[in-house]
């Protein structure tokens, strides 16, 4: 039974390393796209639906720092900026 558990654990880790992370990556890409759309005005691009999406911004700022670093910007200043 212990051997089975160890095998199951190993299998699960391989699954997460190869397939699980790919799924997480896909989810993150979709989140990044949404975040970029919501923050277009801070990037200098007009957002015609900014009024409608304003409520969503608090939900997206939690990991703003990780996001702008991932997008290749070491700092992210301006109104509502990060660092």
């Amino acid at each position: 039974m212990r051997a089975w558990r160890r095998f199951e654990d190993f299998h699960q880790q391989v699954f997460e390393a190869r397939w699980g992370r790919a799924r997480t990556r896909e989810a993150r890409t979709q989140q990044d796209t949404l975040r970029a759309l919501l923050l277009t005005e801070t990037l200098g691009v007009d957002n015609p639906v900014a009024y409608e999406t304003l409520d969503l911004i608090p939900y997206m700022v939690a990991d703003l720092h990780e996001w702008h670093q991932r997008m290749g910007r070491d700092d992210f200043g301006g109104p509502g900026g990060c660092c």
Partner: protein, 621 residues
């Protein structure tokens, strides 16, 4: 010669390679350090960059690189006898593939986990980035063409395998969704999926599905019909998100591969059968191509494969926990690929004669001519697996479908992946082309528009290999397989060139990387010239006007690579090369002893000859 003795002897040689040669590479050539901060730690983001246990990374890496190619190549190459094929698999795996796969991970780990294409631009020259894109473009075009032919041939010959293949699609989606939504352990659904898939084999035998009636009604041959269906599938599948179909399919395939390797190994050891093929074939027909250089491009995957460098630098290097784990992951995965090639050699030289349909025949009758060898290598493997599976009591018909299902599953997944990859390359190349024109100009807009239109780029990605698959007319693999092998070896050559330049710039002796690099490029160029002469010196207009220009383009890419590699290596040896990526090793250099940096400054001329064998780490300059 007993097949079991060859199996155990080869595995022993692989073990020696790992025990001694990989240690030499790790210490003297790549100079791995357990204290180096790997990209997995430096950029840990929980998704791409994650420090992972080395056994898990090995399993991940191996299942990413293993596929149908190491099975098909050796199945053709045993035409010259099992000895040369096995010798190239052993030497190639131990001295070329091991160094290549291991080195690709090591270089990438030292450069922020960057991919080999980016590294080619950084380490060799900016032109090498374009060269890389072109080589990969031709590689994936060939991959799609040859695997479409392989799968079409198998589904036509084994209509019993059609139903299990069709069932595997919804089964994969269901398993993927189940594991995702239930968030449960993946093992049980995996086993249930495997059992369900194999339960469909008897159903498939009871209900063989063939396209013959449709083919007769339309006047199109069955093979062409299957190829059309496969490319239609590839078009649709490559437009779906990867997590929906491609990855769950891939996931089930890997379990199939493990089952197949176990069945073959146990079948060989239990049966104690003798290899029926000659060690070195003496009755090779006079009009056959020469073993030199064709053997070395016919077996690409299984001896050394450039595709591995894409995986090694694309994902594996981002998960390496300690730099010293690169040896275990890279070298062992190369040995695993060599073991697949070994299984194929044994299946096609020993197992194939156990198959009832071949009993009473001479082995040389199955491989009478080069055209025969290239006509149905996948069928030979399937019959061989059926023969070995018979040793452990699996009914022959069932084992045949089992063998066919493995190759079809892998090849169809490869079709999907390769079409996606080609679409990305087309998009990147059209953006590069757009940058050549003034912003806002018609040409600029046209190239950018092409890059953005996924339907058109996917259509082009599918149309090119479809046309190529149709060209030979007889759907024999031989010619296209050799061209595929040359592009694969060129990719390996480019990765080895990157590794050799990196090693030379670190003031290590790169000779053990340069030797396989020169050997591969020499054999590839020789094979391309050989093929080109054959294409021109023929009455076939298709050979002359389509395959000959294609061969010429690949030959020019090979010559371009030789020039780039030579220039980059010369610069590296002279010590005049620019820093590869100063930031990549900045942290590490700070940790390293300043005396090492100081000694470099004192002896700027000490190139490969001066400090080639030094043990301490060196700064890249």
């Amino acid at each position: 010669m007993p097949a079991a003795a060859v199996l155990l002897g080869t595995l022993a040689l692989f073990a020696l390679g790992y025990r001694f040669y990989s240690v030499y590479l790790a210490k003297r050539v790549y100079a791995l350090e357990p204290s180096f901060v790997t990209p997995a730690h430096a950029y840990n983001d929980g998704v791409d960059f994650v420090p992972t246990n080395k056994h898990i990374v090995l399993a991940h890496h191996f299942i990413s690189v293993a596929g149908a190619a190491p099975i098909v190549g050796p199945a053709i190459a045993v035409f010259w006898g099992w000895g040369p094929a096995l010798l190239w698999v052993v030497l190639g795996t131990v001295f070329a593939a091991g160094a290549h796969d291991f080195g690709s991970i090591a270089v990438s780990v030292r450069h922020k986990g960057r991919s080999i294409g980016t590294l080619a631009g950084d380490v060799i020259s900016r032109r090498a980035r374009v060269l890389f894109l072109l080589i990969i473009f031709f590689l994936v075009t060939m991959v799609n063409a040859v695997f479409a032919i392989v799968v079409a041939g198998l589904l036509e010959q084994h209509p019993e395998a059609v139903l299990p293949t069709a069932v595997s699609l919804p089964l994969a989606v269901a398993v993927g969704q189940l594991v995702y939504r239930r968030r449960s352990a993946a093992l049980l659904p995996s086993l249930v999926a495997l059992v369900a898939l194999y339960a469909c084999i008897p159903l498939g035998q009871a209900l063989p599905l063939t396209l013959d009636p449709v083919a007769q009604a339309t006047g199109i041959s069955t093979t062409v019909m299957w190829i059309l269906i496969l490319f239609l599938y590839a078009y649709i599948a490559s437009r779906l998100p990867v997590w929906m179909l491609l990855q769950p399919r891939d996931y089930i395939n890997q379990h199939q591969m493990v089952v197949a390797l176990v069945v073959i190994a146990v079948g060989v050891l239990v049966g104690m059968n003798t290899i029926a093929a000659p060690l070195l074939r003496e009755d090779v027909p006079a009009d056959s191509p020469s073993i030199f250089p064709l053997l070395f491009v016919t077996i690409a995957c299984g001896a050394v494969s450039g595709f591995h460098s894409l995986v090694a630098s694309g994902t594996t290097s981002k998960q390496i926990e300690k730099e010293t784990d690169s040896r275990y992951v890279g070298y062992m995965a190369a040995l695993g690929e060599g073991s697949l090639a070994l299984a194929s050699i044994l299946a096609c030289t020993a197992g194939v004669m156990l198959f009832s349909g071949n009993q009473g025949l001479e082995w040389s009758g199955l491989y009478a001519t080069w055209a025969d060898a290239g006509a149905d290598p996948q069928g030979m493997f399937v019959d061989g697996v059926a023969g070995f599976a018979g040793n452990i009591g699996v009914p022959e018909g069932t084992a045949q479908v089992f063998g066919a299902l493995i190759i079809v599953s892998f090849a169809v997944t490869t079709l999907d992946t390769a079409v996606r990859l080609k679409r990305y390359i087309l998009q990147e190349m059209s953006l590069l082309a757009a940058d050549r024109f003034e912003a806002g100009s018609t040409a600029n807009r046209a190239f950018r528009g092409f890059s953005r239109n996924l339907n058109i780029t996917t259509l082009v990605a599918v149309a090119l290999p479809f046309g190529l698959a149709m060209v030979p007319g007889d759907f024999a693999l031989g010619t296209l397989w050799v061209l595929f092998g040359t592009t694969n070896q060129l990719t390996a050559g480019l990765a080895l060139a990157v590794i050799a330049v990196w090693v030379a710039k670190r003031r290590r002796n790169p000779v053990m990387i340069v030797i396989p690099l020169v050997f591969l490029l020499f054999m590839t160029v020789w094979a391309l010239i050989d093929q080109l002469i054959g294409f021109i010196d023929t009455e076939s207009a298709l050979d002359t006007f389509l395959l000959a220009p294609l061969d010429t383009i690949i030959l020019l890419l090979a010559l371009w690579m030789i020039v780039e590699s030579f220039i980059a290596l010369r610069s590296a040896f002279k010590g005049t090369a620019d820093p590869i990526d100063p930031s990549a090793e900045t942290d590490q250099i700070a940790v390293e002893s300043s005396t090492v940096v100081g000694s470099r400054k004192e002896t700027p001329e000490a190139g490969a000859g001066g400090s080639a064998g030094q043990d301490g780490p060196a700064e890249e300059k």
